[in-house]
């Protein structure tokens, strides 16, 4: 036991030593800081020299009442006659240089930015009939473009590996008009603003702590409608320290395949609507609480169903610790018979970013539970209990390794399955 512990300690210390050699030393950082301070001193010196040539101005901290740049530009234009050609010309050059810098840094429209996400996965389980091996995750492209300072466009496109080919999917396609912070109106295809996970984490696995999403919000799943086509109003609610915000949307709701939204049109004349309200209290920076409701009429071969989804969550987004907990209830009522069923799902996830190794390691645990009653007529049975224990290691600011042990049981009377999963994910 003691020998094993000693070997473990030596390996850890060796790893720490190698890591310390690989990372830039504190001396280098200090040198850069000193150089930057030197640059600032030189800038200050240049300013002092310029100030000797230019007319004196008021003190800096009381600068709130200084004339606007336009007024100062007018003053500068009138100045050469009084100040002589030398300083005036210099000031003119300075203004030209300033205008060029401002023009260069100002947002130009449209300003398209593209970001990609990808992941490569490995899985091995003791489930009968499955094989272990590698698989390519989604290749995800995200596009964001400001069309003006009030109008923005966002899109997300994924490339998905299948046994015989790849498919391309438009996951999100949104154009948004911002009136102000309290009212922003958008149209398009969204991740439905139900609960937390579905809108906090999209297709890039790198964004989330774990390898996979909780089962009830997984892509391609049916428990909640992950996607939504329609219009959405969102914004802040004037609420002081409560930090309230809202989303309210109207759209097509579930299509004839209930895991898809009605991209090409609704399959009935009834629109779905969704409302989401959440709070980020000012006193508890990192805390977010929220609740959502979603209402739709689903038309299937077996008849029409009224769907009522309610969801509530509490999250602590700082990573020391990270805490996510969310609960959803899906009520289906058959219009013809009034037979009603309730399906429930929840997850609780706890993570903690360790203070060592430059804060690059985050162990985590998640428990998930989903239950659908036998009388449920819209879903197939989705009973599931999962425990996930894993570690995320951030290789760089933009890439991570994750490894997980999962123990799960799907369906009634099915055996428990153990699995080991690994993933490297990144953004580029």
């Amino acid at each position: 036991m003691l020998r094993a512990l000693s070997i473990f300690a030596v390996v850890l210390l060796a790893g720490a030593a190698v890591r310390a050699q690989g990372s830039p030393s504190a001396d280098q950082g200090e040198q850069v800081r000193m150089l930057l301070e030197r640059v600032q001193q030189l800038e200050k010196r240049v300013l002092e020299l310029e100030a000797r040539q230019a007319p004196p101005q008021a003190g800096a901290i009381s600068a709130a009442n200084e004339p606007s740049p336009q007024l100062r530009a007018q003053q500068a234009a009138q100045a050469p006659a009084a100040a002589g050609p030398g300083p005036g010309q210099h000031q003119h050059e300075m203004q030209e240089q300033q205008a060029a810098t401002v023009q260069q840094m100002e947002t130009h429209y449209p300003s398209l930015q593209i970001r990609g996400f990808g992941d490569v996965d490995f899985s091995a389980t003791d489930q009968k009939g499955t094989t272990s091996g590698f698989n390519l995750g989604q290749l995800d492209l995200h596009l964001a473009s400001a069309l003006s300072h009030k109008v923005s466009y966002f899109a997300e496109i994924t490339f998905n590996a299948h046994p015989t080919d790849y498919t391309v999917e438009v996951e999100r396609n949104i154009i948004r008009y911002d009136y102000n912070d309290y009212f922003k109106l958008s149209f398009g295809r969204y991740h439905t603003p139900i609960g937390y996970w579905n809108t906090a984490f999209h297709h890039g696995a790198w964004l989330q702590t774990t390898i996979s999403r909780p089962d009830f919000v997984r892509f391609g799943g049916t428990f909640i409608p992950v996607h939504f086509v329609g219009l959405l109003a969102e914004g802040n609610i004037p609420s002081g320290g409560a930090g309230l915000s809202y989303n309210v949307g109207v759209g097509n709701g579930r299509g004839s395949m209930i895991n898809r939204p009605g991209d090409a049109g609704d399959n009935n004349d009834n629109r779905a609507w969704v409302a989401n309200i959440y709070s980020r209290p000012q006193r508890f920076y990192g805390l977010q609480l929220g609740a959502s409701v979603y209402r739709d009429k689903i038309t299937l071969a077996g008849g029409d169903f009224r769907e009522w989804i309610s969801d509530a969550y509490v999250v602590w987004t700082k990573e020391t610790p990270e805490f996510l907990a969310e609960f959803a209830n899906v009520n289906h009522r058959k219009v013809l018979t009034n037979l009603s069923t309730n399906s429930e799902a929840f997850y609780v996830q706890l993570g903690y970013r360790l203070p060592w190794f430059e804060r690059s390691v985050k162990p985590y645990y998640r428990f998930e539970y989903t239950h659908t009653p036998l009388s449920e007529q819209v879903f197939t049975n989705q009973d599931l209990v999962v425990s996930t224990l894993g570690v995320r290691y951030d290789i760089t600011n933009y890439a991570a390794f994750k490894t997980e042990y999962r123990n799960f049981r799907r369906g009634i009377g099915e055996p428990r399955v153990n699995g080991w999963f690994a993933q490297t994910d990144f953004t580029f």
């Binding site: 720490a16 640059v39 800096a60 102000n180 912070d181 802040n236």
Partner: protein
């Protein structure tokens, strides 16, 4: 001291050594220097913000000063002291967390672009005085005429209670 006690002492010693070896040094977290002033374009219709309001602006949760004037966030490039203070006091994030925060923010379609990066005080001065709605953070000793210095929680840089230092 019997064999079991020796083993326990040995284990505690090994674990303590590991913790000391892996713990970050205090020198990386201590900073000293002048106050960091919150400065805006002179025409910006605010003069006093609470620290929570400054945080909301920097987190991209408040994106408009008024319906016609969007916030333009400016932040110094890494290693500058102004950036260190902003990340430590306002964002309460590491450099990596800050970068990830903005990638996620844009990815969630909550913002169209991240803060603009400025590389020197000169550049910052030019941009804040030239772009309506711009907000930046400057060492209070380097604030120049033509910029509007905001009170934070009712305090100006130099006040004992000023939070950004």
């Amino acid at each position: 001291m019997n064999a079991t006690t020796k083993r326990v002492v040995m284990i505690v010693w090994v674990l303590s050594s590991l913790l000391v070896a892996m713990a970050p040094s205090g020198a990386q977290t201590t900073r000293s220097g002048a106050d960091i002033a919150v400065v805006v374009h002179p025409d910006t219709p605010v003069s006093d913000l609470s620290l929570s309001d400054v945080r909301k602006v920097l987190l991209g949760e408040r994106q408009y000063w008024s319906s016609k004037l969007p916030v333009v966030l400016l932040i110094r490039a890494p290693v500058a002291r102004e950036r260190d203070v902003v990340l430590r006091v306002i964002y309460q994030m590491s450099e990596a967390q800050f970068k990830q925060y903005w990638v996620a923010k844009i990815f969630r379609a909550e913002a169209a672009s991240p803060p603009k990066i400025v590389y020197s005080n000169d550049m910052q001065y030019e941009l804040i005085s030239g772009i309506p709605g711009a907000i930046g953070f400057i060492d209070a000793r380097n604030v120049r005429p033509g910029l509007k210095v905001l009170r934070v929680d009712g305090h100006l840089p130099g006040d004992k209670e000023y939070p950004l230092r």
